[in-house]
């Protein structure tokens, strides 16, 4: 049933498929290379390390992507049915060995190199004098708590939680350490000083994500997860929740304010105003 007709149809299909593959590769490479869409510049050391690892991965994948997609384009055009007999081959063990070894080195190497950016933020403990902030999330707000002048967080009591009366975290009114705690809906931190966040949730799982920090962490009820960073650029950055948390998920939003030391002292002194 393979006639002359199917051979000419074969040329048209081969040409179209090869062309589409080439267009797809060119457009994809252009948009990734020209960085038409990219996150804003990182404002931390770790953020830059993440970007470096991202770029390295982009190079490795780009080479494999371009070679294999153009390989498909070439093969469908070059080996289309034009009346020839197929070249009989069951495979080639040398080639199997070469590409298996090459991908093991490439992919595992990439994975191991990626350790650095991860380890700095997650394995290394923060400095002892890092600014301490508690992040408590609930449907659908962020609350940030600072220990106040005494440097101590007050005890929490779930029974005293009442967002409407200004005690969203349920700070125990009987604990003197809690009297000077500052609870605010946005995160203010001093520039160039290490900050340690203690992330948790009151109800369902949420998340805290700041693109410029290249950092995100789920807020899990029952767990307090510490993460730390040092922001190097004064400015205001958006905080979002990336973990599906209910009907108001997409409106759960706050700001990270990175301020000068003087402004930070003023912020603390005014009790978070």
């Amino acid at each position: 049933m393979r006639t002359g007709k199917s051979e000419s149809g074969s040329a048209a299909s081969a040409a179209l498929l090869a062309l589409l593959q080439v267009i797809m590769v060119v457009v994809t490479v252009y948009i990734f290379a020209a960085k038409l869409y990219s996150p804003p510049a990182p404002i931390t050391d770790i953020g830059r390390a993440v970007d470096e690892q991202y770029s390295l991965t982009l190079w490795v994948t780009a080479v494999v992507f371009v070679l294999s997609q153009l390989g498909i384009a070439y093969a469908v055009w070059r080996f289309r049915d034009h009346g020839q007999r197929a070249h009989f081959s069951r495979g080639n063990n040398t080639m199997e060995f070469i590409w298996t070894t090459a991908t093991i080195i490439l992919f595992l190497g990439l994975g191991i190199l990626g350790r650095r950016a991860w380890a700095e933020v997650r394995f290394t403990p923060p400095a002892a004098d890092a600014v301490q902030v508690e992040v408590t999330e609930n449907q659908f707000v962020f609350n940030f708590r600072y220990p106040g002048p005494d440097g101590k967080f007050g005890r929490l009591d779930a029974k005293q939680i009442s967002a409407s009366t200004g005690n969203p975290l349920g700070i125990d009114s009987n604990d003197p350490a809690g009297k000077d705690d500052i609870v605010v809906p946005t995160l203010t931190v001093p520039v160039n000083r290490q900050v340690e966040l203690h992330v948790t949730s009151q109800d369902v799982i949420h998340n805290i994500f700041v693109r410029e920090l290249r950092l995100q962490q789920d807020a899990v009820p029952g767990l307090v997860v510490p993460i730390h960073f040092t922001a190097e650029k004064i400015g205001q950055y958006e905080i979002v929740c990336t973990q599906l948390c209910g009907l108001g998920h997409s409106r759960m939003h706050s700001y990270l304010n990175v301020v000068s030391d003087a402004d930070y002292e003023a912020f603390l002194k005014s009790g978070g105003q």
Binding site: Y37, A75, A86, G91, W99, Q139, K159, S162, V204, L247
Partner: protein, 588 residues
Amino acid sequence: MSSHAHGAHAAHAMEAPTGFIRKYIFSVDHKVIGIQYFLLALTAVLVGIVLSVLMRLHLVWPNMHLPFVPGGLMTQEQYLSLVTMHGTIMVFFVLTTAPQGGFGNYFLPIQIGAPDMAFPRLNMLSFWVTFLAFIAILAAFVVPGGAPISGWTGYTPLSGLGEVTGPGEGWGQTMWIISISLFCLASLLGALNFIATLIDMRAPGMSLFRMPLTCWGWFVTAILGLLAFGVLLAGGILLLLDRSAGTSFFIPGGLVVNDQIQHHSGGSPLLWQHLFWFFGHPEVYIAILPGMGVASHVLSTFARKPVFGYRAMAMAMCAIGFLGFMVWGHHMFVSGMSPYSGFAFSVLTMSIGVPSAIKTFNWLGTLWGGKIQFTTPMLFAIGFVSLFVSGGLSGLFLAQPAVDNLLHATYYVVAHFHLVMGVAAIFGIFAATYFWFPKMFGRMMNEPLGKVHFWFTFVGAYCIFMPMHWVGIAGGIRRYADASAVAYLQPLQPVHQFMSIAAFITAAAQILFLINFFWSLKSGPKASKNPWNATTLEWITDSPPPHDNFGGHFPSVYRGPYDFSVPGVKEDFVPQNLTPQEVTREKE
């Protein structure tokens, strides 16, 4: 494999049922059950596509009045319920059901030369329990409170506390759990049946390394199913107990929702994630491994060449299945899991790229030097490889926890898994449909219409999902009902509009497939036994095959599955059942 087993089965299989109900509804014939699974998946995919079109409409025109949406204007919770139901229906009732339950059921016994599955009644039970599961998930739309909003991953405590956490988290979430648990049960039974059939019922001469790669795909998938579905079933039961019996497997103490203290204590939300992903990651391979088998099978047939590196291909599937159980933690890098575990999961995940790459190179090797015939199934098989490469490579970014700090829960993830396990698997299903339709229904599908369907779907898939990566890199967050609250999401809206329009065109192009399918069913030209000049056992029997598959005569196998263009042989294909003496040599 013994002749005794064959005799017993043949005797049973000879009695073809005559009544309509025993023949088409409660049938024990694997071919009828395969078609039942296929039609269930076809129904499910239509529902899933409608849901995705509604979502894409809402994302770009949030103030538009929509059909099927109570009230016309979509609310936040309605959007999230569509997210949940689209994911659940597509992953379970399409990507798991069609490739394995549908084509696996129909063709595994025929390709190994068996008259039926090892346990025909169990097979029937598997299908009908899957059907019940589908009814249960559809019921979630109409129960009080509507469909659940916790995503196809159903993370607790959102899914564990009842309607206090949101609309749809009452009855809707309960129906979701019941549906998933039933589905797990059915898939477990199905997996047992596949494994027993493949081990015990192969024709004489059909050694494991003479099986078509499709059978390897279904075999590894069945093993994954056997080990993975039981874990999700357990998770589902525990979650149901948390919701209805007051237990606290997944819910910690001291929770306050809406100023109400919850009376739970001692549970762990991360435990659910571990159980879910211990199933959920192998599930990705459950969806794609049969497609890999089909792609290899179809590429070889229409390149008129043996599969390049057949053994490497079979072993790569086993490696993917094995490693697939050790990478679930890469879904949980930022979950609060130990960062040391995160690093271990990362390296294991990078290593699963190796067998995936081996497969890609061997597919290219199969095309290389071939005589490529661009039939519709071949186009979809080549499309499968292209999409698998594109979607697979973006996985190398997500496998690294450091980079995941930037990309986690963004549209980058959505783009990645849609390409690699969604669209690629769908291309595998389309390749299988166009390839085996003549065998299943005795008629050919329309080739020109099939090709137009392919071009639209191939271009459309890339136009939807390649730009989605860019949205993700820029920080576009998934599962957001609207982008208005976050300033940096606004510049991404034009890309969303482009993707939505591409999605509408691609969805509309699927009508071409439906027309082709149903028109050909009635009016396609009659198919011969072997219209593609293929080599495996399904092509030596009638189209469609008789009730016992081979008409009382069971084949023996004398060669591997892909003897195409063998030097010195007159025809460019040698069926597996031909004895060396029966092969026509070229005249010197």
